[in-house]
Amino acid sequence: MEANPMHEDCQNCFEKISEFMDGETDEGTCEKIRGHLRNSPKCRKCLESLEKTVDLYRKSPHEGIPPDVRARLRAMMEMCFSRG
């Protein structure tokens, strides 16, 4: 059995959901999406999962610069300074 394509309102929301997340939609679109989210658990989950995805990347820690990499960078800068 073929899966049904998205409902048109859900599709419109899907296309703009990142901009909505970032507060970059115009007021009219923002209100439309807010209204749709109130009535669409699926789209609410979509928004939530996107937020979680971004949050996951933001929280994963930075890699420290390996000491030898840092030392080579310092050495390179010193060499450039001494050349003038």
């Binding site: 959901i17 989950k45 995805t53 610069i65 080579r72 800068m77 300074f81």
Partner: protein, 219 residues
């Protein structure tokens, strides 16, 4: 005439100050560097090296390439800082240099051409109920194994994301540049930034969820 030139020059100086986009801390370092202070450049390196290294790592996936990106960026900064007019933030300027360094590296390595991700390929079908399994990052010491697994999965998904989307995601969601700044740094339109960011997020969500739902991230 002299009075006119004096007023004109004074206005120019005021305009330069008003047009300055760097914060006070960076501005002081830049001024000191322009006067010959190598210590100022060292402080700039200390301030931005970790961000640039991690940016290089996320864009290229290899420690050696990340080191090259970082070195190339600071070499470029050393050459260009004397004439930098602070019309943009120092961070933005440095990351523009870094973005170009990434592009050059890809060309040198003759990487595969950037591919498009269609929105249709990322659309959930009706049957999915909108559910995606996205774990939370936990700093609980007992979750070390989960953290290691998560790290591996998110790194894999990042590397699989085509570069033109990856860089926008990095700039917008990880480095904190806004849409206009990202567009300016990359030389693309704000709408392109929004489009690529949206597809990047959807792609990464799909890959992460596929792993934790029992599948593997898409190739």
């Amino acid at each position: 005439m002299t009075a006119f030139l004096f007023l004109f020059r004074r206005r120019e100086m005021v305009d330069e100050k008003n047009n300055r986009r760097t914060d006070d801390f960076d501005h002081r370092l830049i001024e000191e560097f322009k006067k010959g202070s190598t210590d100022a450049m060292t402080k700039i390196v200390e301030r931005y090296e970790e961000s640039l290294y991690n940016f290089g790592l996320r864009m290229c996936g290899h420690v050696q390439d990340a080191e090259d990106i970082m070195q190339d960026t600071f070499m470029g900064a050393l050459k260009g800082l004397h004439t930098f007019r602070e019309e943009t933030k120092l961070k933005n300027w440095l990351f523009r240099i870094a973005a170009h360094a990434c592009t050059r590296k890809r060309r040198k390595k003759k990487c595969e051409p950037d591919r498009e991700i269609s929105l249709e390929s990322l659309m959930p079908m009706d049957e999915s109920n909108g559910h995606y399994e996205i774990p939370d990052w936990s700093n609980d010491p007992s979750d070390a194994a989960l953290r290691a697994e998560l790290k591996s999965v998110i790194n894999t998904c990042m590397v699989q994301l085509p570069p033109k989307y990856r860089i926008v995601f990095n700039f917008r969601d990880l480095e904190g540049f806004n849409t206009e700044e990202t567009a300016d740094i990359l030389g693309i339109t704000p709408q392109s930034v929004k489009t690529r960011l949206h597809r990047a997020r959807l792609f990464l969500r799909k890959g992460i969820s596929a792993h934790f739902d029992g599948g593997q991230p898409d190739a």
